[in-house]
Amino acid sequence: MTQGLSLRLNAIGLLAIVAVLAFALGDQLLKKELPCPLCILQRVGFVLAGFGLALNLRFSPRPSHYALTLLGALFGGAVSIRQILLHIVPGSGAYGDAFLELHFYTWALIVFVLILLGTACMLLFDRQFDEGAHGAGPLTGLALLVFVLFVVLALGNGLSTFLECGVGLCPDNPIDYEFLKPLPRL
């Protein structure tokens, strides 16, 4: 696999993560469903995983960058597994609405596993690393567009988390945005 093809695939992979983050944030805003603390941590896992791909796009593909993606997906997946186990026993309830018959935390685990598989497959091709930092340089075209969207979504999720939880920890079952509550009358 040439470095050029590798960079294109990295851009597409990052676009997929951008789509997941955008879908989660869009669902939160449109359906007015607040994400639970574990849901927020899964989003952090997606940003950690995408970070490695962003490094590939800017500095050319390196095994260490793929390692960051693997670690991000691994820890994000661990959070998903914890949340699935919280609700796996019949009658123990669930958090949020289902999408295509699965809850978001189950979808998150599926996507994290796909990221692990995809990254492992990318690591099979050594030629992308042989060309050194040939592809390194300022981002252009699709890579720049996807990168900007990724930064915007990382900041957007940070802002929504700040509005929901403030500077403290999020409640386990949030019902309202902490910073959007009407002020009490004096």
Partner: protein
């Protein structure tokens, strides 16, 4: 406090954009550490599982 990982990682992405790889790696590591700490804080209840 739970917005911090996003903030740190977004700052890290800006260092990526400007070509500061070491700073970016530091921000990523800080983001992962925050994820682990916050996960530990929130994963306190015992799972209701029986085998």
């Amino acid at each position: 406090m739970m917005f911090l990982p996003f903030l740190v990682l977004a700052a890290g992405l800006l260092t990526v954009f400007y070509g500061r790889r070491r700073w970016a790696l530091g921000c990523w590591a800080a983001g992962l550490l925050l994820l682990i700490v916050l996960f530990r804080v929130h994963a306190t209840s015992v799972l209701n599982l029986g085998f």
